[in-house]
Every structure is written in structure tokens, then in C-alpha cells.
């Protein structure tokens, strides 16, 4: 029976593919494909739920195929079905279907009708991968797809400033989560010394707990990394401020992503990884504390929100906080029920949020009471006012990240700008060449000298990517530094004892082409348009949509997004990092965080945002 699980890969994927070849005005066909695919998926999801419940709630597992296999390592697509999958699948499928039906009329004649459905259905692919994943590799695949489609739908109105700005903001938060997730997966690989399969978790938790006795720090590390990843994705304290800013796309995409599903991915992750941390005291209390703070702050900030959508965002954050507590306390059925209720309610409220105007004004007409007692009247004035003011300021959470993370990182990046000096670039290239030469002469490094140390090389990868990240003028220079950083990254892996030339080939097979493709498209746009820099948005997608798409594909490939073999290579290289190379892991994952942001930033700055040319209607920057 578990073979049926494959249909949750096939149906979403085929529906997505089916939606691709049509033109924007072929609305009926595009929406028809989406509606029928999602209808089928919902029916199957409900049927499977029924079957599973009827046959005694047994877990299902299905191995699909091995994408890549080498020695003890096997990158396989594995699917899994248990109560968490069951509930998420039913809730997600039903809501996706309803929102798809809603969108057919709602999105009518929108210039991005087809783009919307493409992204929406691609999201569905990622979502099902994640929900049905039976191992971390599959899970991560889905997670990445959700992340990118999230960005693309926030930045759906790509000719305005705010959607792009906030899209980049959400992306920057997501990257923290991504890095944490990768770190968590890497540590678990090494702790278990094999691939981690979710179905083994029940038994493995014993093994795991035995292992954590030997490596207590590693066990704690794994738990905290997963919690961090979950907190980011579910907009929990202190990451909450991205959620209300994600409502830039059409109301329908905001509803399905940030009301219904994407925002609950953190909940899913914690339910999934529960066996890995439930015996540990600290993570458990950390979750409870985080959930409690999110619930309280979310409610307070939600109460002062004067806009329909942000109010719903914070109320959702508060409820997810409660769900997190329920998970930590082991009340998983309750958590799942609560998740379903929250997803349904917020989707409904968001879809209906434009009604607030007439409904609430009408309500005021009849129910307005100027003498209504104040909120929290029992509190002393100063405390009440302090709570109010801080809630309007969103408890300075945004400032927190800006002051303590982004700003120092940017400063650091800028302070490294001397690396752009031609002489230093030559030195870097020399280092690289010597590395290569050294590598071929001594294929297996005997000792760790400073220059031929993988930690050092990965530091160079990090430095070069930071230079690219903070580059404000030349897009090409930023791109070259991305390339340089990639080379250092690859060599840092090669400098370890165990590495596999096949993996390197796999990795380079995609990224070399993507690098060259990206370079060519940048050169083309620079030759066609004047004054391109990375200091502002240019919106050249208005005149060059194809070039923009091509560059986006190159950028996505080079950052290891699952559309090319580079993705596999990326994953494999990461799992290749040896246990005693923590420094390499740290630098590599930092590189990985910044890399995606940098490449997407180049894309956004050149192709998205208000168009530089004003012969047609261009929105005000503040709108």
C-alpha cells in the first residue's frame, strides 16, 4: 500500500509541469489543470487518511529511488507516512485546492496569472516532498523549494519596491533557518554514522540518547539547530517580524503561504525531529520559553495592529507559539489539531481580510462605545502605556537583527573590500592555483599546513562571498567573486582525507555552466542598459524578461537550488565534511547562507523593482 505515497510526488509534479506551457490568457486551462490536480490530490489524501486510520494507524514507508549512491552514502528519495504526515497532507491538500479554486476568479486578467499558478504549483511540489519525506535529504529538497517559491511570490509584484525589499528581507531570515537545518542534518549524519531515516526514529531515539551520552554537546547542538530552523520558518520569537512583511503578494498567496502552510513548516520540523530532542531538558524548555514568549508578544503586538493582515499575522504567530509548547510537552495529537484549526482559521481570515472595511465600519456604526473601558485597565498607567508603545514598535525585534546581525556582517564584508584590489585578486588566484597543483602532486594531504588546510580554504571561500555580498557597484565583480568563492569551497572539500571526485564533478557540472551563463547575461544587460549598479533596483525585467529568467535560472543553479545536479553535489559535499572539521563546516555553511542571498540580490537589483525608465506607469517607491 505504501506505493501509493509515490502519487503524492507524481500528482503535484505533473500538475506543475502541466501548468508550464500555457500563455497568460489561457486562464481556464491553467486553472483547470491546477484545480483538477489538487482535487485529485485532496481526494487521495483523504482516502489515504481513511485507509490509514481504518488499518490501525500503522506507519508507511516507501523508497522511491536512489538519486545518488556511493559507498556508505545513499541519497535516496524516501517517503514516509505517519500521523504528522497524515494531518499535514490532508490540511495542505484541502487548502491548496480551495485556494486554487478561489484564485481562478480572483487572479483573472492579472498580468502574472500564469506565473502565479506556476509558483503556486511548484510550491505544492515542495510541500508534498517535505510532508511525505522519509529522510532528511528529501525533507531538505522540499524545504528549499518552499523557500524559493516563497520569495518569488512575495516579490510577485516585481515592478514595485516594497515587495522586492520585503522579499529579500524574508529571504535573509529564511537563510538563517536553512543554515541551521543543514547544520542539524550534518550533525545527525555524523552522530548516526549513516543516513537518517525518519521511520527509524522511534528506535533510533534510544540509540540517539545513548549517543548523546557520549557526545552530549553534539546532541544538544542538533536539537538547538532544528529548533532554530523551526523558529525562523514559523516566525517565532525573536524572528517574528518577517511574517507581517511577507504579505506583499496577492491575498491568495499570502493566505496559503503565511496563513496556512508555509508558516507551519517549523511545526512540522519539530514534530518530525521530536525523538531527537525530547529527552533533553534544555531544548525542551527552550521551546516552551520561545513558544510562551511568542504567544504573549504575538498577542500583544497583534492587539495594537491597525491593519487587517498584520493583525492576522501576529495572531497566527501567537497560536503557533502555543502549538510549539504543545509539541514540547509531547501532546502531539493536540498540536496537530491545533495546527489544522490555525491553518483553516487564518486562511479564512486572510482571504476575507478585504471585507474588514465594510464589516467593521458597519459594526462601529452600531456598536461604537466611546466609554469602553481601556484594555488592561488593571495595569498601572505607565506599565500599560509601555506595553502599548513597545508593541507598536514590535518590541524592536527588527532593530535587534539589524543591529546585531546584518549591520555587523555588512560592516565586516565591507571591511574586506580590500580583497577587490587587483593585486590581492592575483594572490587569491595564486593560492588557488597552488592548491590545485599541490592537490595533484599530493592527492591526499599528509599534514595540515596553513595554506593547504581545508579550514583555511573555506575561510577564503567565506571572505570572497562576503566581498561579493557587500559589493555595491559592479554586478560583474560580485558575480566573479561568487565564482571565486565557489572554487575555494570546492577545494576546501577536496583538501580533506575523504572526498569523491564524482561528487565534485556533479557539483561543478551545474555550477560552471551557470557561472558562465550568469556572466554572459550580466554582460549583455550591462551592454544594453546604462548605469547598472547594485546600489538600487533597476527593474529591467520590464524590457528584458527572457534575460531575467535566464539569469535567475543561472543564479538558482549556482546556489544549489534543486534544478540541476549542483544541488546533489552541494548536499553530498556537505555530508562529506568530516566530523573533525567543524571549522570547515562553520565557514562552509556561512558561505552557503550568504551565497544564496548574494546571487538573488544581484538578480533583484538588476531585474526587479520599479523600472528605471519612466515612459510607462511606474509606482511610487512607497507604494
Amino acid at each position: 500500500m505504501s506505493i501509493i505515497l509515490i502519487s503524492f510526488l507524481l500528482i503535484p509534479f505533473l500538475t506543475f509541469l502541466g501548468s508550464l506551457p500555457f500563455k497568460n490568457h489561457q486562464e481556464k486551462i491553467i486553472a483547470g489543470i491546477s484545480n483538477s490536480g489538487l482535487f485529485l490530490q485532496s481526494i487521495l489524501s483523504l482516502a489515504l487518511f481513511g485507509y490509514w486510520a481504518f488499518t490501525g494507524f500503522g506507519n508507511l514507508e516507501q523508497f522511491v529511488f536512489s538519486i545518488y549512491s556511493h559507498k556508505e552514502f545513499d541519497f535516496g528519495l524516501i517517503l514516509y507516512y505517519d500521523k504528522v504526515t497524515a494531518v499535514f497532507s490532508v490540511v495542505a491538500s484541502l487548502l491548496m485546492f480551495l485556494v486554487s479554486v478561489f484564485s481562478k476568479t480572483y487572479m483573472h486578467r492579472e498580468s502574472g496569472f500564469q506565473r502565479f499558478y506556476n509558483h503556486f504549483l511548484f510550491f505544492n511540489v515542495g510541500l508534498n516532498l517535505l510532508i511525505f519525506s522519509g529522510n532528511f535529504e528529501t525533507f531538505f529538497l522540499g524545504w528549499e523549494i518552499i523557500g524559493i517559491t516563497s520569495f518569488l511570490l512575495i516579490a510577485f509584484y516585481r515592478d514595485r519596491y516594497l515587495p522586492i525589499k520585503n522579499g529579500m528581507k524574508v529571504l535573509s531570515f529564511y537563510r538563517i533557518g536553512d543554515a541551521a537545518l543543514i547544520g542539524g542534518i550534518w550533525f545527525s549524519h555524523h552522530l548516526f554514522q549513516e543516513n537518517v531515516i525518519f521511520s527509524n526514529f522511534i528506535n533510533k531515539s534510544l540509540v540517539f540518547n545513548a549517543a548523546t551520552h557520549i557526545h552530549p554537546l553534539q546532541g544538544l547542538m542538533i536539537a538547538m539547530l532544528f529548533i532554530l530552523a523551526a523558529a525562523v520558518k514559523s516566525a517565532q520569537f525573536p524572528f517574528s517580524t518577517w511574517l507581517p512583511r511577507a504579505f506583499e503578494g496577492p491575498t491568495v498567496s499570502s493566505a496559503i503561504f503565511y496563513g496556512a502552510i508555509a508558516v507551519h513548516v517549523g511545526v512540522f520540523l519539530l514534530l518530525r525531529t521530536y525523538p531527537l530532542w525530547y529527552m533533553l531538558i534544555f531544548p525542551k524548555y527552550a521551546i516552551i520559553a520561545m513558544g510562551l514568549i511568542s504567544a504573549i508578544l504575538g498577542t500583544l503586538i497583534g492587539m495594537v495592529q491597525p491593519t487587517a493582515k498584520t493583525q492576522i499575522a501576529y495572531s497566527s504567530i501567537a497560536n503557533i507559539g502555543l502549538i510549539m509548547i504543545e509539541i514540547a510537552l509531547g501532546w502531539h495529537v493536540l498540536a496537530l489539531v491545533h495546527f489544522a484549526a490555525n491553518a483553516f482559521l487564518r486562511t479564512y481570515q486572510l482571504l476575507n481580510s478585504p471585507s474588514a472595511m465594510s464589516y467593521l465600519i458597519h459594526l462601529q456604526f452600531f456598536e461604537y462605545d466611546p466609554g469602553k473601558p481601556k484594555r488592561f485597565a488593571f495595569l498601572p498607567d505607565n506599565m500599560r502605556n509601555a506595553l502599548y508603545l513597545l508593541s507598536v514598535k514590535e518590541w524592536d525585534l527588527d532593530k535587534l537583527w539589524y543591529t546585531y546581525l546584518w549591520s555587523p556582517m555588512k560592516k565586516l564584508g565591507k571591511s574586506l573590500h580590500f580583497f577587490r584590489h587587483p593585486a590581492l585578486v592575483v594572490v587569491l588566484l595564486l593560492v588557488l592555483l597552488i592548491n590545485i597543483a599541490h592537490f595533484f602532486i599530493f592527492p591526499i594531504p599528509e599534514d595540515y599546513t596553513l595554506l593547504f588546510n581545508s579550514g583555511f580554504t573555506s575561510l577564503l571561500a567565506l571572505i570572497t562571498i562576503m566581498v561579493a555580498w557587500t559589493e555595491r557597484r559592479s554586478a560583474l565583480r560580485a558575480w566573479y567573486f561568487i565564482g571565486l568563492s565557489q572554487l575555494f569551497f570546492v577545494f576546501s572539500i577536496m583538501q580533506q582525507h575523504t572526498f569523491d571526485i564524482d561528487q565534485i564533478t556533479l557539483y561543478l557540472s551545474g555550477s560552471v555552466g551557470a557561472f558562465i551563463g550568469g556572466m554572459i547575461s550580466l554582460k549583455r544587460i550591462i551592454s544594453k542598459e546604462n548605469g547598472i549598479n547594485l546600489n538600487e533596483f533597476h527593474g529591467h525585467i520590464y524590457e528584458h524578461p527572457r534575460l531575467a529568467l535566464f539569469f535567475l535560472i543561472c543564479a538558482l543553479t549556482i546556489i544549489g537550488f534543486p534544478i540541476s545536479p549542483t544541488f546533489l553535489g552541494f548536499d553530498l559535499l556537505f555530508s562529506d565534511i568530516e566530523n573533525n572539521h567543524k571549522l570547515l563546516l562553520l565557514f562552509s555553511s556561512a558561505t552557503f547562507i550568504i551565497l544564496e542571498y548574494t546571487a538573488i540580490r544581484i538578480y533583484a537589483r538588476i531585474f526587479l523593482g520599479p523600472h528605471h525608465k519612466t515612459y510607462h506607469e511606474v509606482a511610487h517607491r512607497s507604494s
Binding site: L98, S358, A619
Partner: protein, 849 residues
Amino acid sequence: MELIENSKVFDLDKTIHRLKHYLPSQMTLKDFVHHNTLHPFQSQKFYDGIFRASELFGYKVTLQINDFRKLYALGRIKEEVIDRIVIDRKGPHNSKEIVEKMLFKSYDEQIVARTGQFRKQWKKQYKIDLDSLVHPLFFRILCAYLDQGISLWNFPEHEGGFYESVKQLEKESGFSFFETKKVKKLFHDENKSIADLLKMLVGDEAYFEQYLFDMSFSHRGWSGIVAVIDENPQALLIRKKITLAEVIRFELLMELDQLYLQLGNHWEPLAVNCNTPAIEILSPTHSTELQEILRLWQDAFEWSYYDDVLKGIKANRQRSKTETETFFQAIFCIDERECSIRRNLEFVAPECETLGAPGFFGVEFYFKQIGAKFGDKLCPAPVTPKYLIKEYDVEYHAHTDKMYDEGTHSLNFLKNLGLGFWALPELALSLFKPKMKPSISDAFAHMTHRSKLTIVNKSLDDIEDGLQIGYTIAELTDRVEKFLQGIGLTKNFAPLVYMVAHGSSSANNPHHGAHDCGACSGRPGLTNARVFAYAANMPEVRSELSKRGIQIPDSTLFIGSMHDTAADTIEYYFENDLTGKFKSLHEDFVNKFEDALDLNAKERSRRFASIDTNQAINKVRKDILDRSVSIFEPRPELGHGTNSLCIVGRRSVTKNLMLDRRAFLNSYDYRTDLDGTFLANVMAPIGVVCGGINLEYYFSRVDNVKLGCGTKLPHNVMGLIGVSNSSDGDLRPGLPWQMIEPHDPIRLMVIVEHFPEVVLKVIQSSEAMYEWYKNEWVHITALHPETGEFYYYQDGHFNHYHADVVELETISDLQSLFEKAPEMITNHITDATFENLPIYQIESNVSCQ
């Protein structure tokens, strides 16, 4: 551009006054009152005004030249019209050369706004993006303060107003919205004026006004709404004290705060290192060749349509008319959406005479529904009524939707769980079986069906909220008389006269007010219809009227009713149950109305992709009804889209012409008013109401993202006063894409059936009225009632306008015309315009009964 002399002194009051003049003046969305978006420029001629607006603020004010060229290639702009316009405007000498330029010369159409240039220097000089740093929190504080009922925890207000409230909040909380100590101190310093702050921020006084324009126009939506509330506190239901000046002061402080925070003391006032001289921001603008070419195109576009209309009217006039006996009369609003229901009603009921007049039916008042705490203004926006009408003798039922329960925004676990599982079936139902519910704006819910109204004043001491409750008999008689005389209905009353108001039900639509009756300040007009009918039925009023020469026979009954223009339904209101002859007549006429509504629904459905026009008519009708209560439908109806004409005259001018719902129709009979006394009353609201609607659609169409509010799909409701695109975005005044798609951006052509000299005298009788025509924001043509010739107004005169007599295409089967009509593939003008059908002569195939 004029440079500012160094000696110039900054005058804050003058600058504030100027800002208020130029900022958008749209009211809050609950009172959607259509107005000329570029009203500040109306004292200039149309083209001078719009191009000036473009240069000052960067708006696009016409279609792009390429769009015009495409419209020409598609035949939508006619060659002969271009030739005529060019010769007319530029003389015959170099007309060829000009046409050549129109068609082929390439122009740089980029627009660089004058505002914003100086303040941009922050980014250039210090790489600091003040907008990004200041706007989000600034908007949030403003919105929280002005909020009308979204937030569950309200801004702790202080009677001193906005600035004072924030100050008190900071004082009492010990926390601050400001980051730096320096600015915190400045904030609480009473003695610091705006000029002092500008001195710190900008330095040189010559730049002050320019800076304030730059700053305020960087978020014209929020500045605009503050200016509106500052001027009319009643714009808000729940009053908030706020002035533009204090908001400017607050924003300047927020900017200073960010400068100190980001740059410490390493910055100087902006003017210090600025190498461009200060400019007089409002100094005259200059015309360019491109503008000349664009105005020729615009004129040609407009006249390509008007020409057909004038020819159509002329041809129609020459056809013989069959007079039928009138059994009932129906008086609709002049609204161009009622143009089709009138035609359809006349088609199914040739015994019906239809008339049109502004839909508040001459009775202006505030209306308080049972249980309501506030009154609704039910008359055109510029009028301030002195009367209050209240409901009584009926029970108040609260209509609440549990999905909006405050509990869903609290940690009330059970409520969230319960409502969560309720939400799924609710959502599914609203998708597959849409029906009316409390969260949907129901046009008929503005008055309680079986209520009684305080129409007649009992005592002059009956005052509430400073308003007289009800009208005296004399006041009622005045209003009925004036109204009937205006539409020329002073005799030949049919047994039943329906006053058909209109409103529009729509779901999930913040702009629902824009679909309601413009003559009732963006609200459904059902109460007005009822009040008028009640007054006209009163024996006391009738006997007074008869003394003034209007005899309404006892065999005539007025009935108030309302047409829901989205759902295509009509409801009727009676003070007493109908009996006898009236009852049977009414039953008969209701069937006629229903038949007309069927046809109307079908006609409208041709523009709706979700409805198949060819299916059985009752199915179309059902789909139209469902559409008005569908939360997923961003176009419950198309509002005033396509409006382009206003015809003041007898129905015979337009009867049997297919004007495709594009004409405001105001009944008026010159024979009862040879010297134009009543015409002045009739014409008074035409510019401000119809012209306002037309120009709002015009500007929202030509620059939907700056002058309109863009696509409505990402809109977020802000404090119940407006919409923005995101949580951090500026308020967006104007109309959304979904409303203006079918609209051809052309100015309104008013056609008045009267002698040209009378029309001229009338429009010149009031400066406010005359401005619309004098400055060409609205065109006007007089139709000579005796000769049938046209006289077009230009530069102070009505000149004869020659319209060829052409045989119009005749059509007998309108239904199949609608079934076959094209539907736009994209909403780009060159696609969209083909949804608008040409003028047809309708062959009436129903003989007299």
C-alpha cells in the same frame, strides 16, 4: 524652473496651505466620493493642468504615444478626425508635417518629477535611505492613531491631538519611538518649531518648502489623508484630532533621529553640500512638443467617439417616434449604469416612461438606522444637510460574523480551535455556494425593510446632533416641486411612479462605496427614494403642490424602490400595504421589472469571464446574483467604467439608441423651462458629480499605479480608512485596476437639449460650474431643440458643429449582439477598448399595446 532668491523667507502657513491644495484629497473609503483626481489643477485649462501635474509630481496623464498609434492602426482613432483636429488646432499650413510627427516621430516619454529631487540627496551624499528607515514605523504610528476599529487595543488618545498623544504616551511609558537622546529631547521641547527642525535638517531656508514637498509627496497617500482629516474632521466616523503641521513636525523628528542614529554627528544639513540651487517648487512648467502631440492624439481619440454619438443622436431624431400611453413611470438615478436598465425596461414594457435625475431625488439628509450611533449623509458630497431622518418602530438586529470575533486574536484556545474547524466548511461554502452574510456589504441592509421613518417634522424643537428631525410640509413641498420641475414631470402622471434608487452589494471589497450612489456620497440611495415617495404621496404636500401648479391626481401612487446594480435585483418599499388597483398594477409591473432585470443581467454578463452569456437567461441572472456575494470575485460589477457621456434632455433624444451603458441620463424638458431657470439646478451637480466620476476614471486609467491604487489583489485594509499594498506601504487613493479595465480614458461630453444661448447663460451663472467647461475638463454641446443642430462650446462660445447625417447600423436583436460581443484578452487599452461597442439604432420590434 524659477530659482529661489536668497532673501526669500520660509512661510510655514503658506507652505502647509499649498501642500493641502496639492495633496490627494480622497476621503476615507467609507465615503467614497468620486472627484477629479487632479482637482488642484482645475483652475487651469485641462491640458495645461495635467501636464503641469505631470511635471511637478511625475504622474502619467495621457496614454503613451505608442498606444495612441496602435489605437489608430486598429481604427479606434479615425483618420478623418485626426486631420480635422490638426487643421482645427494648428491651421492647414503644416498639418501634414504635424500628422507625420504624430504617427512616426519618436519621443522620449520619460517623466522626471520635480518633487523628490532635492531630498534624494540624502542617498547621494550619505548613502542613507531615509524613506526605508522612517516610513514603516511612521506609517504604523499614524495608522494606529487614526484607526477606526481594526486594532483591539487603541492608541491612548490625548485631547491635545496627535503630537500631544504621542508625547503623553512616551511620558507615561518611559519608552520612546525615538532612538537618540538628542531627538527625544527635541521631541519634548515645546519651543522647537518646524522651521527650527528644518534648519537642523536642511540648513538653508531657501530649500525649506521644497524639502517639505519632497517629504510629504514621498508618501502622498498618508499625507493626503491627514490633510483631509485636518480640514474635515467629520471624514472619520470616530473623530481624531490631527493636523498636517504636527504630522510634518513629527516626521522631521523621525528623520533627524535616523540621521543621528545612522551617521552620528558626521553629517551636515542637506543644503550645505547640495550643488543644485533651490527652486520654487510651484513655479510655472513649460510645454513641450511631445505634449502638443499628445493633446492632439487625445482630442482625436475623444472625437472619434463623440462624432459617432452626435451622428447617432441626429439620426435617431429623424426617425419617427410612436407615442404610447404611459401606465407607469420609473425615475432612476442619472448614473450611467442605469442607462441599460432603462432601455431594457422600455423594451419589455413600452407602456413605461423612464426618467433620470441625481439619485438622492432632491431630498438631502442624514439618516440614522435603528440602533445606529452615527448618521449617514445621503446627498451629494458638497451639500451639507440640516435634516435628520431616523428609523423607528422596528427591532434592531445585530448582524455579526463570528469569524471576526476578537477571540480569534487572543490566546483563547477553544475559540481558535472551534472557529478554525468552522472556517473550513465556511470557506468551502463561500466558494461553491456563495450567499449573503454579515461580512458582505449588502446594499439593502442600509435601511430596515419594515421600519418607519421620521420624515415629517413634529416640532421645530426636535433637534438631534444639531439637525432638525424630519422636514416640515413646506420643506417637503419645495423639494418635491423642485425635483419634478427639474425632470419636466409636472403633468401626465401615471398610476404608479417608481422612484428607483440604486446601491451595490459586494463582497470582500474595500472599494464597495465606489459602486454605490455617487449622489448619495457613495451610499445606497434607498432611503432617499422612500422619503421622496412618501412626501409625494402625502395629501398635504399634494395640495400645496397643486397651488403651485403641479396636480398629482389621487390615482397616482409613488413607490420607493432600489436597484442593486451588482446583483441586478430590485426591492420595493411601501408605507402601507397596496390594495385594489394599485396592487394588481404593481404585481404586473414587478414582472416587467423582473424581465428587464433578466435582460440587464445578460447585457452586463458579456464583460464577465466567469459567466457564460449564452446560457439560459435565468441562469445568467443567478450567476450575476452569486457574483455579488462571492468573496473571490474582485469585480462584483464594473462600476462607472466606460462612462463618457452625459445627456440632459428628454428621453426622446436617446430612446432607441444603444449607448452601451456609457451615458449619464438626466431628464429635462426644455419646453417647461424656456428661460433655463430650472436648468441651472439641473446643471449644478453635473460637473462635480459626473465630471468628477469621469476624471477619476480617466486618471486611474492612464496612470493606475500612481493616480489609481493598482491591482486590488495585494491590498491590505489600513485602519478602516484606506488600503495599502503591504504592511509598510503608503495609502493608495484612486481606483483599482479591476474597476477601470474597460474604461476608455476620454473626457465627459455633456449634451444639453436646449438653445445654445440658454445653455451658455446657465453654465456661466456660477463660477464653480463654469470652470469645468471653461477649462475644458468636461466638454459640452448644446442640442438645438428645434433644428436638431449641435453647438459645441469652445472658448466662451457655442459654435455650430457639423455632424453628418448617417444611417446608423440598426439592430433588432440586442441579445445576440451581447452574446457575440468580444471580450478583452488583456486589460491593455488596445485590447480592452474593443469591449466597448459602437452606437446602434435599436429597431423596436414590439408594437404598441
